[in-house]
């Protein structure tokens, strides 16, 4: 997605940061709440579409602004959450740049899955080593990052790639492989 100008990337990134605040509110309003990890979605989208520096900023500023304005996440949770989301933004952005299989969905899934794993592992490590040193165990990591988050992970795997595809269909971001005709999906 080389064709987007720096200004456009910057403003798309701003929109994603704003969504880090607005999406959890919307989810909250109909009771889906935090099980679906709504704040993660804009960060992945930002990394995948705008590149890693913007993904990084979104991963830091998104939860920080939301926390400052609404206390969700609570200040105490903010540092680990920032680590997790920043890794999502950076890793998904870098991989989208490197991985080019000529198939959009393959690129998206590789970037997404690696980013999800990297983010959860690194956030767990950050927690164990820095933020809650000593009182944090492997079991807590497994339950916190793998078990209770499965609905959110499912949503991420199911919808984020097709969301990126929809944005391309709507011509809001450039086609990754422009020769592919719109309409016939290459999976």
């Amino acid at each position: 997605m080389e064709k987007m100008s720096a200004v456009k990337r910057a403003i798309l990134c701003a929109a994603c940061i704003a969504l880090c605040y607005a999406l959890p509110m919307a989810f909250h309003a109909f009771g889906a709440g935090s099980v679906f990890l709504p704040m993660h979605i804009p960060v992945f989208i930002c990394g995948l579409t705008c590149g890693w520096p913007y993904g990084l900023l979104c991963g830091i500023a998104g939860p920080a602004i939301s926390s400052a304005l609404t206390n969700m996440p609570p200040v105490a949770m903010l540092p680990t959450m920032v680590v997790e989301l920043a890794v999502y933004g950076v890793v998904s952005g870098i991989l989208m740049q490197i991985v080019r299989t000529k198939r959009l969905y393959v690129d998206l899934y590789i970037s997404l899955v690696v980013a999800i794993l990297a983010g959860r592992v690194l956030a767990g490590m950050a927690r164990a080593l820095i933020f809650a040193a000593g009182s944090y165990s492997m079991a807590a990591w497994v339950s916190g990052y793998l078990v209770t988050s499965w609905p959110g992970t499912l949503i991420q795997l199911l919808f984020i790639p097709s969301l990126v595809y929809a944005l391309m269909q709507a011509r809001l971001i450039p086609q990754r492989y422009p020769k592919t005709k719109t309409g016939d999906r290459k999976v």
């Binding site: 097709s162 929809a166 269909q169 709507a170 011509r171 719109t182 309409g183 999906r185």
Partner: protein, 286 residues
């Protein structure tokens, strides 16, 4: 009666310093098969009224009856309401999300219990009714359509449910003149086939052409309710409410001032032209 609204009131942000009344004691009813327009200056409460009438906001004071049933009653089945009442919001194209037009139009039929075949027929009917080429667009992504086509696809999604009553919020905004004309024609046709239509709009010309009755909301109150020609006739009152009238109505007023005997309850171009011809020919009486 399609809609019976009884002493409906609504206050935003109740109990905070930002408390603002949106509706105060509004009552009216709308019969089956009517085509009613609602006008009002920005912030008059028309959007709140629309949400309350569609059961999208709970009514804290007053009642909303649709086909004689209180939609805020405990145990009232909202999915029944969704099937008989279609709502088309401003810029409805922003609701499109599915991967194909066909799937998007069928979205509202998901919980309808219809067979796959019936759904397909309904979808085809809806897409053709809004003037899109079914075989061309059905497999396309709705997001890749042109602006006007997107609007049509979104309208098809609302029509596919075949609602008995249709509420529209500013449906003509953002359409080119041709698109607007086509939409009004469609609405008039649906109305003729028996659909109750309630259209909230700033566009006096469109209302003048399509609606037969007009409600005016002013600062949360029902300021006027009557045949649209009658409401438009009092241009001073309309101006007081911050509203304009249709160009045809204005032209009729100007012509009258110039001494031509044209009736003052004209609202649309279709009425204006013959009226002017008659006035020119016979000096008033045909």
């Amino acid at each position: 009666m399609s809609f019976e609204i009884k002493s409906l009131s609504y206050v935003y942000q109740r109990g905070t310093p930002l408390e603002t009344p949106a509706l105060e004691n509004v009552s009216f009813s709308i019969g089956d098969g009517e085509f009613v327009g609602i006008m009002g200056h920005t912030g008059c409460g028309k959007s709140t009224l629309l949400h309350l009438m569609a059961g999208l906001l709970p009514a804290p004071a007053g009642t909303v009856l649709i086909d004689g049933e209180d939609i805020n009653r405990k145990g009232y089945d909202r999915s029944v309401l969704r099937r008989k009442l279609g709502v088309l919001f401003q810029f409805p194209e922003s609701q499109l999300f599915e991967s194909t037009v066909e799937k998007d139009v069928a979205f509202g039929l998901k919980h309808s219990g219809l067979s796959t075949k019936d759904i397909e027929q309904r979808v085809q009917w809806a897409i053709e009714t809004v003037g899109l080429d079914y075989s061309r667009v059905k497999g396309q992504s709705p997001l890749g359509l042109s602006g006007g086509e997107k609007r049509r696809a979104a309208i098809a999604g609302v029509l596919a449910v075949q609602p008995r009553h249709l509420i529209l919020d500013e449906p003509t905004v953002g359409l080119d003149p041709m698109g607007r004309e086509a939409l009004l024609e469609l609405l008039v046709k649906l109305n003729r086939d028996g659909m109750t239509i309630l259209m909230v709009s700033h566009d006096a010309d469109s209302l003048g052409e399509a609606a037969r009755r007009l409600l005016v909301l002013h600062q949360g109150h029902l300021a006027a309710d009557g045949p649209i020609g009658q409401v438009f006739a009092d241009m001073d009152a309309m101006a007081d409410w911050g509203l304009g009238v249709s160009q045809s109505r204005e032209a009729a007023g100007l012509l009258a001032r110039k001494g031509l005997e044209v009736p003052q309850d004209i609202t649309s171009y279709r009425q204006l032209l013959p009226a002017v011809l008659t006035a020119l020919k016979g000096g008033g009486s045909p």
